[in-house]
């Protein structure tokens, strides 16, 4: 048989590598993009790296990640090494099953590990806190603290999933070691402990080092387990990145990911070079080791390591006041200078976390992992949380700035008596279209179902919004519970899908596609349209004549909140006119603050030295006559929610 030609081999190899590395190359390239888009190249810049280092949430999470990874690595390495030694000393019959048990957590799905740890912590803390309360009430000598998830639980989780990796890399080294070495050292005058340090440890050191490196990489990488065990006040880099995807994928993510990729790459290269060296020249290494192990160098290294850890611990405790407030919001949904301003004004430390959707937030709260103080859910989710008795009534006397909130955004359907909420932002859902790709201005939802634009339409990947558009197109109510109406809307959507109207069902991908001119029509939020406009001037936004959804995200305090007083201070601060102006300018979502709305054009002029474009302003702050034809989502009854889910699944996206 003839061998396939060398050329073909190479082409195939090249394709494989292209397949593997193209995404990373694109990521790295776009981390240097001057524009905000992930699709349009606007020139080279370090802007995102600069922003990254000024982004407080990311830097804090980088710090947390490094600290937890380092500590977890050190502890797991020590524990794992001694466990390996314990295993090694056992008889094979005892050892084999134990080693198998050790391997299970590595094979186990992270999600299972994460959820189970979360459950354990919640259960234990629940028990402990009840106990502490009982003890504290019963006597006055000592106060037992109440516990909640945070850095400690995150660390415990990381240690526990790191140990098996250390064990796995140390055990073979121990088994390769001559059993007589320790005996020999003892024979030559060492106690058992001395023999271990002087002889066994150098022998298994390569295993320990590579175990530690693997553990460190796993820790830095981990998202799922951290997500369930970090609690509300802590977040790792991976969690920070993930939560940033809710609103707008900022290119800062590219910069972070590039750095993360390079860090892991460097670690891998180091590990591989070490292994190669050992395999190549064990004798030379052995000879070198004698010199390397000079006590001075050892002490210097040890001191350096201690210094780094101590430094990390101390720098991490900036503003370590007792007063904190845990806030959970959406990614890219606040002007971060506000957080610093609040902290310096009040001395309260803000732990600012983000999640990616209302549903995620809900499940976090339900699982007990999200022990936040202030959350910023959307209208329908607020209704649901109220109905499930999860929110605390606000102390409006502590929130004087509530007076600035326009009456149009008070007493809304989700909180008719306005006892639980202070609005944060509001906005409308509409159609974004590319002027150069359609014949006439779009004004109606019918465009979303029109065969004329087959393959050019991006439908939103969210059952409520997609079916909502169809309901409005058919002239039904957005919050209808009539099964026939909902089924009719589904039919409309399904038919359009059959006819190939939709290029795709999208969420965040909408930015790239619309900015790059890859699709003509999409359904999305007004605030996000304004961001897209910066990258593509042909884009237009319309609130269709049939009406649309408008939404309000409002600040609420959880019933279980531990820092209610601080929460009120935070809410009051954010509700202020100054904060609203800053946020409006930063995130392009409309403020509910009457004064802020009125002052914004002047604020804009002062800031940028140019007139605010009224037309764009009206897209952000939808005028009352347009808002009139829009409706809030209401929390639907369970039956209807089920129907939505079922129909959505049938659509088969």
């Amino acid at each position: 048989m003839k061998k396939p030609s060398n050329g073909l081999n190479r082409v195939f190899m090249a394709l494989v590598f292209l397949f593997l590395y193209a995404p990373i190359v694109v990521l790295i390239v776009f981390s240097f993009n001057a524009g905000t888009s992930n699709a349009v190249w606007k020139g080279f810049s370090f802007e995102w790296y600069e922003q990254l280092f000024h982004n407080r949430m990311i830097m804090e999470s980088v710090y947390t990640t490094l600290l937890v990874s380092l500590l977890a690595t050190v502890i797991a390495t020590v524990v794992g090494t001694f466990t390996a030694i314990g295993f090694y000393a056992m008889r094979r019959r005892t050892r084999a099953p134990l080693e198998a048990v050790n391997n299970i957590p590595m094979m186990n799905a992270d999600i299972v590990t994460g959820v189970s740890m979360c459950l354990l912590f919640v259960a234990f803390f629940g028990f402990w806190n009840d106990f502490a309360e009982w003890v504290n009430n019963a006597q006055d000598f000592m106060t037992l603290p109440s516990l909640s998830m945070g850095f400690g639980t995150l660390l415990i989780a990381h240690i526990s999933f790191n140990i098996p990796y250390v064990l796995l890399s140390v055990s073979p080294k121990l088994r390769q070691m001559d059993k007589n070495l320790i005996d020999a050292a003892q024979d030559l005058g060492c106690t058992w402990i001395q023999a271990f340090w002087k002889v066994a440890l150098p022998e298994i050191k390569p295993g320990i080092v590579s175990g530690a490196l693997i553990a460190f990489t796993m820790s830095i990488d981990d998202f799922v387990i951290s997500y369930f065990t970090a609690g509300s006040s802590t977040s790792t880099l991976a969690m920070a990145i993930y939560s940033m995807t809710k609103k707008r994928v900022s290119p800062v993510i590219n910069a972070v990911s590039t750095l993360l990729f390079i860090t892991v790459l460097v670690l891998l290269v180091v590990v591989n070079i070490r292994d190669a060296k050992q395999a190549q020249a064990p004798t030379k290494q052995a000879a070198d080791a004698g010199e390397q192990n000079s006590p001075l160098k050892k002490i210097a290294l040890g001191a350096l390591a201690c210094l780094v850890i101590v430094a990390l611990i101390f720098t991490g405790q900036h503003g370590n006041s007792n007063r904190v407030v845990n806030v959970c919001s959406w990614g890219e949904y606040i002007d971060e200078s506000l957080i610093e301003e609040f902290e310096s004004q009040t001395g309260i430390t803000v732990h600012y976390q983000t999640t990616d959707s209302n549903e995620t937030l809900y499940s976090l709260l339900k699982s007990g992992a999200g022990d936040y103080d202030v959350i910023v859910p959307s209208d329908y989710m607020i209704a649901r949380l109220i109905s499930e008795d999860m929110l605390a009534e606000l102390d409006y006397s502590a929130i004087p700035n509530f007076a600035h909130i326009d009456s149009a955004y008070q007493h809304l359907s989700y909180d008719p008596e306005n006892r639980y909420t202070v609005p944060y932002t509001w906005g409308t859902l509409g159609i974004i279209y590319n002027e150069s790709m359609v014949d006439e201005p779009i004004t109606s939802w019918s465009a979303m179902f029109d065969e004329k634009y087959a393959g050019q339409v991006l439908m939103i990947r969210n059952s409520r919004d997609a079916l909502g558009a169809a309901l409005l197109e058919l002239g039904y109510d957005l919050n209808t519970t009539d099964e026939a109406e909902i089924r009719a809307a589904w039919q409309l959507l399904s038919d359009a899908k059959q006819k190939g109207v939709y290029q795709a069902f999208v969420m965040d991908e909408v930015y790239g596609k619309m900015e790059g001119g890859n699709a003509a029509i999409a359904m999305y939020y007004a605030g996000d349209y304004l961001t897209m406009l910066e990258n593509n001037e042909d884009l237009r936004f319309v609130v269709p004549e049939e009406g649309s959804n408008w939404f309000v995200d409002a600040m609420c305090v959880l019933k279980t909140a531990q820092h209610k007083e601080e929460a009120m201070e935070w809410i009051n601060f954010i509700a202020s006119t100054q904060s609203n102006l800053a946020n409006m300018d930063y995130i392009y979502y409309a403020s509910p603050n009457t004064d802020a709305l009125a002052e914004y054009p002047d604020y804009y002029f002062d800031l940028y030295d140019e007139e605010l474009d009224r037309e764009l302003y009206e897209i952000m702050v939808t005028p009352p006559e347009v808002l009139e034809r829009c409706a809030l989502y209401e929390n639907l009854p369970a039956d209807t929610l089920r129907l939505y889910n079922q129909l959505w699944t049938q659509l088969g996206i």
């Binding site: 094979r92 001559d178 003892q186 024979d187 030559l188 005058g189 030379k284 080791a289 004698g290």
Partner: protein, 382 residues
């Protein structure tokens, strides 16, 4: 010889309810070269480890210079060990390996003293110039020397050697035997040497202790052990032996195969059944007419210095070593001088050894033993 240094008194060892050592009684003199000889699993290494302090006997006492040392840990005993496969420290070079024990010594030794002693020891084991070589780059023989130097540099009263030559090839093994003997005499230290190689044991030792199944079978000088084995096991384990059933007809008269032979043994009761040991090299071949016994040659193997012949005497096959070649199938006669015959009382080992009916397997036994040993060790490491 000189005074007693170590004594094992009724020492026994049990692992997991299995007795590996039955009440051992043994004393070792100062400056003696004593060898524990036996097949794998006989308890010789266990005995060594008890002396080294790596195992504590389940019962009985270990005495050193008359002091009980059962509970003294290894690092406090004036004993050093050369381990099987040497157990050199791979991360240290030759110099640091040898200096290891000196650096651990309390009171502390000066740098200069350590250096002098290490260099002297390198001289003794002929490894000058190798100080800074990594130990893994050395040959087997050189590693062996490092291991010996590493133990001896501490000037122990007793050196324990656990099959130290097992990993070397035959030629090197012979050289090292000489070398070890020279070192032992030069330094005047007590050597306790463990081996399964009877030749090694005979060549080097002052005293040989033959062990099997956790019991001492015989203690004696190499000559005693070879010439006057106490039972079939010892006779078979030390060299080649034909062990045949016989009856002691009277003092100095033993009957084998229906023929009476003169011998030098006495003190048995009349007509007592006995084991008779006849070494293959002690049998003289004569013509069939002159022979006390007459048999047929069934196989001949050329061994260089002599021939190994298997001869069938009425169904009993004997091994005869001779320089005269007789072709297969020929009938020969044999005669045995009285000092070629050794009579032993019957023991539990009677009938288990010394029959050459299945010659080839029997003969390979020694080589098999080392293979089995290897496998066991590998099994342990798993």
């Amino acid at each position: 010889m000189s005074k007693e240094l170590i004594r094992l008194a009724d020492c026994g060892m049990r692992f997991d309810g299995e007795t590996v050592l039955h009440d051992i009684n043994l004393y070792i003199n100062d400056s003696e070269f004593l060898t524990l000889l036996g097949p794998s699993g006989c308890g010789k290494t266990t005995t060594l480890k008890i002396i080294g302090g790596f195992l504590t006997p389940t019962h009985g006492d270990v005495l050193f210079d008359g002091v009980r040392i059962n509970d003294v840990p290894p690092h406090q005993r004036q004993v050093n060990t050369v381990f099987q496969k040497y157990a050199l420290f791979p991360h240290l070079d030759v110099y640091d390996n040898i200096a290891f024990g000196l650096r651990m010594a309390r009171p502390k030794l000066s740098r200069k003293e350590i250096d002098t002693r290490v260099m002297d020891m390198l001289e003794v084991v002929s490894l000058k110039g190798f100080e800074h070589r990594g130990v893994t780059s050395l040959s087997g023989g050189q590693q062996q020397r490092v291991a010996i130097a590493r133990a001896l540099v501490n000037r122990p009263k007793v050196l324990l050697l656990d099959e130290p030559l097992a990993a070397l090839d035959l030629r090197l093994r012979k050289d090292m035997q000489q070398e070890l003997k020279r070192i032992q005499q030069q330094m005047g230290i007590t050597f306790i040497y463990v081996t399964h190689d009877q030749e090694e044991a005979l060549a080097m030792s002052d005293t040989v202790v033959v062990m099997d199944s956790g019991r001492i079978q015989q203690i004696g000088t190499p000559e005693d052990i070879y010439n006057e084995p106490k039972n079939a096991f010892v006779a078979d384990f030390i060299g080649e032996s034909n062990i045949v059933d016989g009856f002691m007809r009277s003092d100095f008269q033993v009957e084998v195969n229906g023929r009476r032979f003169d011998c030098l043994d006495k003190g048995f009761s009349v007509n007592e059944p006995v084991d008779v040991v006849i070494r293959p090299e002690d049998i003289d071949i004569v013509s069939p007419e002159q022979g006390k016994l007459v048999g047929t040659v069934t196989s001949v193997t050329f061994k260089g210095m002599m021939y190994d012949m298997i001869v069938d005497f009425r169904g009993f096959k004997w091994l005869i070593q001779t320089t005269d070649h007789s072709p297969v199938g020929s009938r020969i006669g044999i005669k045995i001088d009285p000092d070629g015959i050794h009579v032993m009382a019957k023991s539990e080992y009677s009938g288990m050894f010394g029959d050459y009916s299945s010659f080839s397997e029997e003969y390979d036994e020694l080589d098999d033993a080392s293979v089995v040993l290897e496998e066991e060790e590998n099994g342990d490491e798993e």
